[in-house]
């Protein structure tokens, strides 16, 4: 028993049409995506200041001071509860106001310090003891 295949001789032409439609669909999708995304980027783009020079990247291992930290400045509005005898003040954030930034100075580094030079060219030159403690990095003594 034989099975009859319908449309067997128009197969290649039908396939070409499908490939063409699929390609066009992909191209249109990519094109529209690109168009809209570029507009969003362009809307946020800031014109560069021609007078300012581009910042140089710090050299690796360069000992730079710590950068100040920027933290959001909360814009709070105080609302006194009307008729409240308890005097409780309700505070509410105002979302309509733009969020500003305040500068916070870096913490002082007071703990770690470089040791005063007790070495000469990497070698310790102790006095050999006696009544002097020159050259010693520290001293053992009863607890104090």
């Amino acid at each position: 028993m034989q099975t009859q295949r319908s449309g067997q001789n128009k197969g290649p032409k039908y396939l070409d049409t499908k490939v063409l439609i699929a390609s066009l669909s992909i191209a249109v999708t990519v094109g529209l995506w690109n168009l809209f995304s570029n507009e969003a980027v362009l809307a946020q783009k800031v014109e560069p200041n021609p007078e300012s020079s581009p910042p140089e990247a710090p050299a690796e291992g360069q000992d730079l001071p710590p950068l100040p930290t920027l933290v959001p400045l909360l814009n709070l509005s105080s609302v006194q509860s009307q008729g409240s005898s308890s005097g409780i003040v309700a505070q509410q954030a105002n979302p309509a106001q733009p969020v500003g930034l305040r500068s916070v100075t870096a913490p002082d580094q007071v703990i770690v310090q470089k040791v005063k030079p007790v070495f000469e060219e990497g070698k310790i030159a102790p006095s050999g003891g006696g009544s002097s403690r020159r050259g010693a990095v520290t001293q053992t003594r009863s607890s104090r």
């Binding site: 703990i111 070698k123 003891g129 053992t140 607890s143």
Partner: protein
């Protein structure tokens, strides 16, 4: 080389790292925090310390944190190898002797009447110290059970342990030396295999030195009756308790400096020698080849044990 200095455990602390890299500086910055954490666990002068919570719970199976557990365990091992001469159960003896607050406060109140009246009051409340062998440790659950009436003081052992622990943690970043109020742990030699030069303070003139030591991968500690001393009822007392009498040790030594495999052993061995006195102390030192000692006598003489030569800076 980097150095950090701070106060902790009632003493001046310092840590050194023979490495100038940023990672080493970052590690060194953490050292005061480590000591703060350890002091909070081990201090008997902080009312909310873990040790005081343990002391306030005799007969209770107390689940200890890792620091308290390690130090209590180390203190009992020390009691074992010192033959009971350095024990953690001297808390009541120290309080009975008048050492009932941090030494800074004791010094501050020494000139006034408050300390004396407090000490006189304590005379009526004399407590027994108890036996360290009655303390129960559960290794698996890390619990400590104190018998009724027994309280722990981990002062000296705690400092030795802290110096050793800090030097071990810092050694990942380079050769390290940690000085915990005179108990010193050295992780290894400095760059170029140079030993660390450490001076031995003259107990009568602390700015002067008796000698200079060359140390690497070991510990050194000094114990003495020259500094932590006070008067009670007109009699001078000090903080080195002889567990055999429950009183401050009667000794002819002003201070003993011991070099040992680590700072904890050095701290304990120095106390043993002070308690035993120069004659028996030297005999004990010669019988323990892991130790070397320098003894500053009350009559001004300086005695060296036979193995001390290898640590003297030549």
């Amino acid at each position: 080389m980097l150095k950090v200095e701070f106060r902790a455990m009632g003493c001046q602390m310092a840590a050194f790292l023979d490495n100038d890299q940023p990672a080493a500086a970052k590690a060194l910055r953490q050292v005061p925090g480590w000591f703060e954490e350890w002091e909070q666990a081990l201090s008997r002068f902080r009312t909310d310390s873990e040790l005081n919570r343990l002391n306030a719970a005799p007969g209770v199976v107390f689940k200890a944190g890792s620091t308290l557990w390690e130090v209590v365990k180390a203190s009992l091992e020390t009691a074992q190898w010192t033959g009971g001469l350095v024990v953690p159960t001297v808390h009541n003896a120290l309080v009975n002797a008048g050492y009932n607050r941090s030494f800074n406060l004791l010094q501050a109140g020494h000139a006034g009447q408050a300390v004396h009246s407090r000490v006189a009051f304590l005379d009526d409340q004399k407590e027994e110290s108890g036996d360290w062998r009655d303390i129960l440790l559960d290794e698996y659950r890390q619990t400590i059970t104190l018998p009724p009436g027994l309280k722990l003081d981990l002062g000296g052992i705690g400092k030795g342990w802290a110096a050793k622990q800090a030097a071990r943690l810092l050694s990942d970043f380079g050769p390290a030396l940690v000085d915990a109020g005179g108990d010193i742990a050295v992780s290894g030699p400095q760059a170029g295999e140079t030993p660390w030069p450490v001076s031995v303070a003259d107990p009568l003139q602390v700015q002067e030195s008796l000698d200079l030591l060359a140390l690497a991968d070991c510990g050194v500690a000094t114990s003495g009756i020259d500094f932590r001393r006070w008067q009670k009822n007109g009699v001078w007392k000090h903080h080195i308790i002889d567990p055999r009498t429950g009183e401050p040790a009667v000794t002819d030594i002003m201070s003993a400096t011991l070099v040992a495999p680590d700072a904890l052993q050095a701290e304990a061995a120095a106390k043993v020698v002070v308690i035993l006195g120069s004659q028996a102390g030297m005999d004990w030192l010669e019988g323990h080849p892991q130790f070397a000692g320098l003894l500053a006598m009350q009559d001004g003489r300086i005695l060296y044990s036979s193995r001390m030569d290898q640590y003297l800076w030549s």
